[in-house]
Each structure stands twice: as structure tokens, then as C-alpha cells.
């Protein structure tokens, strides 16, 4: 069967001959990313412990790598790459917008409550 799958990943940097090959290729990519995360998680390099936008640089790296993994799971394992643009946008844009909104509100509020505790309005050191 002439595959209706798009067989390129990394913007055409890696091209596969068949869908099966692409699946193994994506597995290798995901494994590499997970290994990098685990190694960083165990050794926690001192250079990456600095603060950037309210969080450790290392944590930003973890979150970005996670989003990369999520992208490849959705695009290649769930075949989002082969769906029409309309379906893809319905699913991805809706979810991304609502999740960003939710995260922003809750984390902002969490930080506020932390400040209320810290500035001594509430005592919990006993």
C-alpha cells in the first residue's frame, strides 16, 4: 500500500522509507530525550541551577523536553501529522489555549498565597 503517511520528522532532517521505520525512529528520539532528562535529573549540573523567569534553568529544560516528547507522541504515534489542518487545530489550539490559561491563573495564585504566608500574616512555624 502506498502509505498516506508523511514520513519526515525534525522538519525533513530525517526521512524514513516506511511508516514502520518512522515509528522506530521516533522511539529512538523519545528514548534519547528521556535518557537526557534522567541523566540531568540524577546529576543536576551546577551550571543549570541558576534562576530564569522564576524557575531553575534545569526545570525549564525539563519542561521544554517534555513538550518535545508530547509533540512527537501526538504527531507521530497518534498520527496528528496526517490529519487535516482543521482537525489538528481544533484539538491542539483549544487544549493549548485552555491549559495555558489554567496554569497561569493557578500558579499566579499559588505564588500569591506563598507571599501571604511568608510575610507573616499567618504563622505556621511551630
Amino acid at each position: 500500500m502506498a502509505d498516506a503517511h508523511k514520513l519526515e520528522i525534525l522538519r525533513g532532517l530525517v526521512k524514513f522509507k516506511s511508516n514502520t521505520q518512522k515509528i522506530w525512529g521516533v522511539l529512538i528520539l523519545l528514548t534519547i530525550i528521556t535518557t537526557v532528562e534522567v541523566v540531568f535529573g540524577i546529576y543536576k549540573p551546577e551550571a543549570l541551577m541558576g534562576n530564569l523567569l522564576g524557575m531553575k534553568i534545569l526545570n525549564w529544560i525539563f519542561i521544554i523536553l517534555t513538550l518535545v516528547k508530547a509533540y512527537y507522541i501526538t504527531w507521530d504515534f497518534m498520527h496528528m501529522r496526517d490529519e487535516t489542518a482543521a482537525l489538528r487545530r481544533m484539538v491542539v489550539w483549544t487544549a493549548v489555549f485552555l491549559i495555558c490559561y489554567l496554569i497561569y491563573i493557578l500558579l499566579q495564585e499559588g505564588g500569591y498565597v506563598f507571599d501571604v504566608y511568608k510575610d507573616g500574616f499567618i504563622k505556621r512555624d511551630f
Binding site: 522506530w24 522511539l27 484539538v91 506563598f114 511568608k118
Partner: protein
């Protein structure tokens, strides 16, 4: 005169009916929309976790000190076991997508084989999850909870964790566990901790090399260790109960919210994996019985595949926010 309008003026256009603008079947589309709503549910949980963590940002437990266990290996080794679990789930995602691919080519025996591997992967993952829960609930070192609900743990002078059993001696106790047969039948009580607060105080007094560690994270990203005098006064003045392990109420690793979220989020995810395994088993037998062969399409495998990949996708985020960040 014909009064019924049969002509809408949209015939032959994209939304005029009779075609599929998204080039996707009803079932697949609905699976996608279910996944969106489920993704929002999990985001709600993880964002709530983030809220509580930002609220206690200077005293949250450090995951590397909590999840350090590997079966049959007794040295603390953070990350390794959960990395294994992640790999198992990704691998079972791969076999699932291979089953979908074989389904596109109408290869029944290959679909059967890959579905079987997927189910096995799912079972290994759920089993690992159960083991992770068991070690988490059992606890390791034990701790003291203060009147204010803070957790005090014990370390030696090098900063290594010390378990209660290493310096506390259990004495004869007057107090025994309340059972409903021997008193008020409508009052229950969980099992009592091995040691009482008084025994811990005695143990701490007689071991001059044991110090108390609080929940507060210092500027080096480590928990604060108190001096010997501070340790003694904290334990003597503020101790309320001895905590061993974790449940929904107390938690030897730190704030009880950490355990609550751990049970809730990994539990909800584990439930998804479990139901995914059940659905996969049903589809597996349908494949063997030749249902999809007769139907002429293995699209059902693709639909459960979407669900299964989604479970993997959620785990990727749970892994990051519970174990890495």
C-alpha cells in the same frame, strides 16, 4: 406549490452535507474530542499540584529523596525505577502504533501479536505503579509531625538520613490499638506507630550524633539541618505524633498535600492505564475472532490506539512534574 425548502444553497460546498471536511470518521473524531476533555482534566490536576507547590515553594518535598527505591536493590537510587516505567509505557505505545500500522495493511496475525505486547507492557506498568505505591505508603525512615503540622526528619552529622529504628528503642506500651470489638464499636483507629513521641525524645537524647532536619529548603536547594540544641528543643517542645510512611492524612516525606496529590494524580493515571488495558484486551479478542477482518477495516484498533497513546502522553507530563521538576 412546493412549500418545503429542500434547497439550502450549500450543495456541493464543504459544509453542504454528505462529505467529511475533516477527512476523519465520526468515531475517530469523537475519540479526539474525548482526549481533549480528558487532557483538560489532567491539566486541572497538575495545575492544582503546581498551585500547592508554589504555595509551599520553600518547603515542598524533594522528589529525589522520596522516590529512591528499586526492587531487589537496597541502596537509594533516585530516578532509575521511574525511568524504567516511562520506558515500558513508551515501548507499549510503540507496539500499539505498530499494531495500528499492521491493521492498515490488514495483517491480522501481526495486529494480534502487537496488541498482545501492548497489553503486557500495560500490565507491567500498572504493576510497577502498584509497587511504587506500596513503597511510598510503607515509608522508610519515619518522622515526627509537629503541632503545626510540619514534618521533622532525622539525619546524622554528615547529613545522611537516619531511620527511627536506628536510634529509637521501643519500650513496653500501655496504649494498645483500639479495636471495635473491645470498646466503642463505632470508633475506628488506624495501626499505631512503632514508637511513641517520648521514646523518640529519649532516643534523640542518647544519640548525640543525630540531628533534626526541617522541611525548609535553604539557598543550596537542600533541606535545613538544625543544630543539636535546636534539634532537641524542637522535638521536645513541638512534637505531636510519630509518622511512618504516608497516607491521605499524614506523610513522613513532608507536607501531606504531596502525598494527596501523588495518590490522586498517579492513581487517576493508573486507572486510565488499567481501563486502557481492559479495552485493549477486548479489542485483542475481537481481532482474534476476526471481527475487523470481516468489517474490512481495523479502525477500531486505531481508536483504542489513540486512547493508549494519550495515556502515555499524560505519563510524560506526570513524570516531569512529579519526579523531575
Amino acid at each position: 406549490m412546493d412549500t418545503t425548502v429542500v434547497n439550502t444553497g450549500t450543495e456541493g460546498k464543504t459544509w453542504g452535507g454528505g462529505n467529511q471536511p475533516l477527512k476523519s470518521s465520526y468515531g475517530k473524531m469523537m475519540m479526539w474530542f474525548f482526549i481533549v476533555s480528558d487532557a483538560l482534566t489532567f491539566s486541572g490536576f497538575l495545575a492544582a499540584y503546581g498551585f500547592s507547590r508554589f504555595k509551599f515553594i520553600d518547603s515542598w518535598p524533594i522528589a529525589d529523596e522520596v522516590f529512591t527505591h528499586i526492587p531487589f536493590y537496597h541502596e537509594p537510587a533516585p530516578m532509575i525505577y521511574v525511568a524504567f516505567m516511562t520506558f515500558v509505557l513508551i515501548m507499549s505505545s510503540v507496539t500499539m502504533v505498530l499494531a495500528v500500522d499492521a491493521g492498515h495493511h490488514m495483517q491480522k496475525s501481526k495486529v494480534t501479536f502487537y496488541m498482545l505486547l501492548t497489553i503486557i507492557g500495560g500490565l507491567i506498568f500498572v504493576g510497577s505503579q502498584a509497587w511504587e505505591w506500596k513503597t511510598f505508603i510503607q515509608g522508610d525512615y519515619g518522622a515526627i509531625q509537629t503541632k503545626g503540622g510540619n514534618i521533622l526528619q532525622f539525619v546524622d552529622t554528615d547529613g545522611h538520613r537516619v531511620a527511627l529504628r536506628d536510634f529509637v528503642v521501643a519500650e513496653d506500651k500501655d496504649r494498645i490499638e483500639h479495636e471495635s470489638k473491645s470498646g466503642l464499636w463505632f470508633v475506628g483507629e488506624g495501626s499505631l506507630p512503632t514508637y511513641t513521641v517520648d521514646e523518640v525524645i529519649k532516643g534523640l537524647e542518647s544519640h548525640s550524633d543525630v540531628l533534626v532536619r526541617t522541611q525548609i529548603i535553604n539557598e543550596h536547594g537542600e533541606k535545613t539541618i538544625l543544630s543539636r540544641t535546636e534539634s532537641l528543643s524542637q522535638i521536645k517542645n513541638n512534637s505531636k505524633i510519630v509518622v511512618e510512611g504516608a497516607n491521605l492524612i499524614v506523610n513522613e516525606y513532608g507536607t501531606s498535600l504531596f502525598a494527596d496529590f501523588f495518590f490522586f494524580i498517579t492513581g487517576f493515571h493508573g486507572f486510565h492505564v488499567f481501563s486502557g488495558v481492559i479495552i485493549n484486551i477486548i479489542i485483542f479478542f475481537n481481532v482474534i475472532l476476526g471481527t475487523y477482518e470481516r468489517r474490512g477495516s481495523y479502525e477500531m484498533v486505531e481508536k483504542v490506539g489513540l486512547y493508549w497513546h494519550f495515556v502515555d502522553l499524560v505519563w510524560v507530563f506526570v513524570f516531569t512534574f512529579f519526579y523531575l521538576v
